[in-house]
Symmetry: C2
Subunit: 359 residues, 2 copies
């Protein structure tokens, strides 16, 4: 018996996941439905490599609504455990999870919205997917650090009764890249201006179309909220203190004007960097969950050369769990963005559901 | 329904596991049997905090043999999924896993012997615990890096079709401690003699009673073999190249004589260290699985200051998985020894079995 997978959202990540499943000839997973925002396609047999053409051109494709898509999965669910995989970043799709779960579907997603938005939605999801035997399953490893084993490790710590003292990390590949390059103790590195690093990151496609959507810390805040909630804290956008590093006067400009004016603030960032370097430290943009002091935040902080955050490279993510059992923290680092590693996290999650529904 | 757990070996790790289960009032796990090398105790109800006294004094305790212990678990297995937890480091117990698995027990263990010894035993175990629906389950997270999510992450990479290019790490808390202290680029650190670091590590209880059992690399080799096998390689003691750093003339001495003579080789280690430091590098004792070149080894190697292995602290373990999807490696680090974190790995493994047998 296989687990059927119905995918909403077939952009880079959704497509890569299907490619990985096809390439590995998985005996445990069959992709039986795909949907974009306009139409969807369901199939009684596993979809093949031609799924994209079929979805776009097939006369079998139907107009997409969440309700019509869900209704079309009734036959799948009657035969096999069925996972809805949400590869959108859409809030409306996230709000639909309770409906899927109550109808007996499992949910897997890299979409952060359900876990970092409205707290009542999150609680409703946890209430239905409550871990009781037979209850539907929700996995969202790829919402933080893509495929890095972050959420599953945190769940293992919590479920075995460890006490979390602190969760601290660099959760944005973009901001990792920017500060790893801007702020370094490596004397052989060529000094660069902050605006230049941002502009290179933008050209490399590492930033959002408007880099202020990275620099304002909102994406990192979402990850802090997710980690905090998994750790049992009722975090919301209101209770996480976010240091927006976009200079105030640049916040209301057009995206183009912002990039043009950013160099005027190079001195500001250079000053911060100089103060750090003079103390043998580097600047890193970090998210913090602090259950002990009840303070969770996103800040531009300093770390000494010997700290693992200081030697981070490229656009890697890093996360450190300090707990009762791990006073010297359990640290996980590596690539935390990109289709291949995000799809890996999704694939692992779905295999866990396959294993849990087939024993 | 709970998962019943029958424990063979109730030393530090076994006792700590029971303490964690009792402290967390687990609703998923019931410890129903405990055994030491002399006797065992089974109970129709979950064992309580008085288990140790009961095992030692109870008239219900019976003489231990693997067969009699197993026979006494028939009632448990008839009622609930039952895990045999091997907390010994015994080879004979490891050789019994196929018998347990063929009788329908699941196996969880931090005992390295079955996974790093006789290859035919390993293959037999994998043949029975083959992942098919209904097949018995084997989890051994704590055989490498204690509770660090090493084996489960490697399994996730493999099961989703990633290609492992290299697995490299510091897998011995003892050798981590010794070289983190002996070889450092931190100019403010007081220089120490190699024999002194070994002797301090011994006094702290970090080493085996005879430190040569750490310095000979055999324990690290076992971990390399385990990781290699999980990654699909047929590694054995014969195919892993191990650099025994115990000077040859000290190998046949008594343990006492060894400690007395080791200072005569301080110059040898100091010379190695000086060569590294002059090149901006440090010495680290690492295990390597290299599927690409078919070379797996344990060696005293050098790493530059910017490498994550160079900034390791205390007795932490670290492991780096370089794969097709993670060309910049996925790295996990933290405490890799001690009862609390080893029991954490065991507890997580058993919860996974609980989840897989109760859906």
């Amino acid at each position: 018996m296989v687990v059927n997978v119905a995918i909403v959202g077939v952009g880079l990540v959704g497509s890569e996941f299907i490619a990985q499943v096809i390439a590995t000839q998985s005996k445990k997973i069959a992709v039986v439905a795909v949907a974009n925002s306009r139409q969807f396609l369901t199939s009684p047999t596993p979809l093949t490599a031609s799924w994209k053409t079929d979805l776009d051109s097939s006369s079998a494709s139907k107009a997409f609504t969440l309700d019509s898509f869900t209704a079309s999965l009734a036959a799948s669910k009657a035969t096999n455990p069925t996972v809805v995989l949400d590869c959108t970043s859409n809030e409306t799709v996230a709000a639909y999870y309770p409906t899927w779960l109550e109808s007996g579907f499992h949910v897997v997603t890299p979409n952060k919205k359900a876990f970092s938005g409205d707290l009542s939605l999150y609680k409703k999801i946890k209430e239905i997917a409550n871990g009781a035997p037979g209850a539907p399953l929700v996995y969202h490893e790829s919402t933080v650090g893509a495929g890095l084993p972050v959420i599953n490790t945190l769940n293992d710590l919590i479920n075995t009764g460890d006490k979390i003292t602190k969760i601290e990390g660099i959760f944005s590949g973009t901001l990792s890249y920017i500060f790893n390059n801007f702020s370094t103790l490596d004397a052989s590195a060529e000094p660069v201006k902050f605006s230049k690093v941002v502009s290179v990151a933008k050209d490399l496609g590492y930033t959002e179309p408007d880099p202020r959507d990275d620099l304002n810390g909102m994406d990192v805040a979402r990850k802090v909220i997710i980690l905090g909630r998994v750790a049992g804290l009722d975090l919301t956008q209101e209770t996480v203190n976010v240091e927006n590093i976009v200079p105030e006067v640049l916040r209301s400009l057009s995206s183009e004007e912002f990039m043009k004016k950013l160099p005027e603030f190079d001195n500001h960032f250079e000053q911060l960097n100089k103060e750090a370097i003079q103390n043998g430290q580097v600047l890193r943009y970090v998210g913090l969950v602090d259950p002990v002091h009840g303070k969770s935040s996103v800040t531009l902080a300093r770390y000494p050369a010997s700290h693992p955050f200081a030697s981070l490279k490229g656009s890697d993510n890093i996360i450190a769990f300090t707990t009762e059992r791990f006073p010297s923290p359990l640290i996980i680092q590596g690539s935390g963005a990109g289709a291949a590693v995000t799809a890996f996290g999704i694939y692992s999650d779905i295999l866990k559901i396959a294993d849990r529904t087939q024993q």
